[in-house]
Point group: C2
């Protein structure tokens, strides 16, 4: 019923606010003309606030996967050794991208559902006595497992070694705390279709002065993702190739929305609440979280173990067909072991309540009875506690 | 947080689907040209299916209140006696509109929360031995109280007398069953901003052959709401004055959506489910419904008595400010006695769950503790029972 009103609980693409859709309907302009300069300038400033950086932030047509490439080819010499820290599928993907680009990839892997251990990273880097590792690849928020890495600590460990810290924050930036400058992150990239609430189609990337210094000696062949022409034109609001204009209109609107609603810190707080509500909700139903350590639980997406005896595809099918709620499957090895609830971007506590209610009903329909309303109540309680803490309890 | 994603639980204007918003963004066309003919023709056919009539249905710029006027001035002679059957605020408004237009208005009123009693109507019309009453004004669905009149029975009673049956179905049509031809309704009108899921701005009206025959002798002064020029031009897709083009694009899309999703009967079934879920939810919280007789409970809107000790404005304020849920107040005498939950148009069962969850949390915040999740569970149970009945229980 009302197929158009299906609830999208994917960890991207996330729902797009009508206000952004309307902004994207603006007519095309000359991307070499004055309107574009104003657009580019406002976006450039807004993104610095979002990345918590004084560096320039560049926007290219692309996606998160484009960020994998851009972060490497601009700042890591051809064939150099890189250490890919992987806590899940997207960590693995970046490692594969690096290998495809000709880098010598070492891997440091952690079991699904856990975060990377700074101590283990320290050991691994200490073993690199020849300082051959030129860059460490870290996933900020692992979308496939719902785990957020302790990025500040990991970056500090890499600093001791001297390699560049390259960060995939596709599903993290704007949702989970990230301080590019304060944490000494060298390259950070994100996409459009996550916390920025846009349709997919952008690679958004920033690099530190140190990364740019290292870039001098980089001989990796590159063209489309070569950031040097973006850097040369940035102050003049000039981009080398045709920009994705509609998405830029949408991005400007997204940045305005985030700013109006309290800035990036308010967005972090909202996602923290959404994650806490979601975890409380599914746990109250007796379901198990993939991420057992609350400290590393993501505010963007929650991965839930499929209970024994329940068909994961059936669960998602019933949720979608009967309750109009689109849940995400597990990825890779976790395909049948978990399902995921995305709660990032254009998401409110009511969305989490709807997701939990849909999971409750889908389980009942599948003959796996759970007490209706119990998960919802747990999520509501987290929301009420949050409000009480925020405003002082009026009751 | 995310003010743009406020949930609108008003009984109009209701949320507008993105698909309709997009359709309304079509460029303007010449309303005397061929594109308009195609648009007008498709709308004319779709509205007949919605009204369940073989009569022509006319669309004018206006609103529900425009329907009050159009239904009277075209079909009831100046100064004639009319009987206004009122079960709430909108019944009263129509009576006042009739008086303002110079008609001699008699009233037949029923207490808020109850439906009109066909037997009482029969008695009143029998007393009109001189057949002076030329029209009986009936509200199909009383938005102010959440009560749906037994329209078929009431119309049959009027038939015995011979007066015209004029029906305000502003919040009924497309949500609650209505059979214009089969029930012998003479004039039926609705608005855009209810079950049709459009922004406000239209009066949509149809009249029976009998009404048109009576119109011959009508001398009431009229201009903008004179339906005769609409009738003359209808087959040629010609309208006398500039039509509200964007809303017509939206209306065409709305009619397509309703048709694609199973037609008007499926829409009735959906609203029946939404009403049943909402009533079960609030009752499970120990709240009292204004409409005590389930047979007449509306599928469009549910009126709930404000519990003793709770400030009705505080309840709606907390729901809006803290939980992003806009509830409707009571109207007129019921202002402080009830609040209303609209669930019509672009509304799904998840919306009802969200409304009930918001009421639960707002009551808790106001120091009127209710068990969190209990109302939600009751609403979920109704949904699950509905699915089980519809598809055969798989559990």
């Amino acid at each position: 019923m009302l197929r158009e009103k299906t609830l999208l609980f994917l960890p991207g693409p996330t729902p797009v606010p009508p206000r952004i859709q309307a902004a994207m309907a603006m007519p095309m302009v000359n991307h070499r003309g004055p309107e574009f300069s104003a657009l580019h300038g406002e976006i450039a400033r807004g993104l610095q606030a979002l990345f918590r950086t004084r560096e320039e932030v560049y926007v290219l047509p692309g996606s998160g996967s484009g960020g994998f490439e851009a972060a490497l080819v601009n700042f890591v010499p051809a064939g150099a050794r890189v250490l890919a820290v992987s806590i899940g599928d997207f960590g693995d993907r970046w490692a594969r991208a690096a290998a495809a680009l000709g880098y010598r990839v070492e891997r440091l892997e952690f079991p699904p559902g856990t975060a990377a251990d700074p101590e283990a990273l320290r050991e691994r880097l200490r073993a690199d006595t020849g300082r051959e590792i030129r860059a460490v690849l870290i996933t900020h928020n692992e979308t496939s497992t719902g785990v957020t890495n302790p990025l500040a600590e990991l970056a500090a460990v890499v600093r001791e070694h001297g390699a560049l810290v390259l960060v995939d924050s596709v599903s993290g930036l704007g949702a989970m705390p990230l301080e590019m400058d304060a944490w000494g992150l060298d390259v950070v990239f994100t996409g459009a279709q996550k916390a920025l609430m846009l349709p997919p189609g952008l690679t958004i990337i920033a690099a530190s002065a140190r990364a740019w210094a290292a870039a001098e000696e980089v001989d990796q062949p590159r063209y489309f993702f070569d950031l040097r022409p973006y850097r040369r034109g940035h102050r003049d609001h000039s981009v080398p190739y045709t920009p994705a204009l509609s998405l830029l209109y949408g991005l400007r609107e997204s940045l305005r929305m985030i700013e109006e609603q309290g800035g990036v810190e308010a967005a972090w707080a909202r996602h923290r609440l959404l994650g806490a509500m979601c975890r409380a909700g599914v746990k109250a139903l007796g379901l198990e979280l993939l991420c057992r350590d609350e400290r590393y639980a993501s505010g963007s997406v929650t991965a839930v173990k499929v209970p024994p005896g329940v068909d994961p595809n059936g669960l998602r099918r019933v949720a979608r067909e009967e309750f109009g709620a689109v849940l995400a499957p597990g990825q890779g090895k976790l395909k049948d072991a978990i399902f995921r609830i995305g709660h990032l971007g254009y998401a409110t506590p009511h969305d989490v309540i709807a997701a939990v209610a849909a999971v409750e009903m889908a389980l009942v329909r599948l003959g796996h009875p759970v007490p209706l309303g119990r998960g919802v109540a747990a999520a509501q309680t987290v929301w009420l506690d949050h409000l009480a803490a925020e405003k002082g309890d009026r009751t």
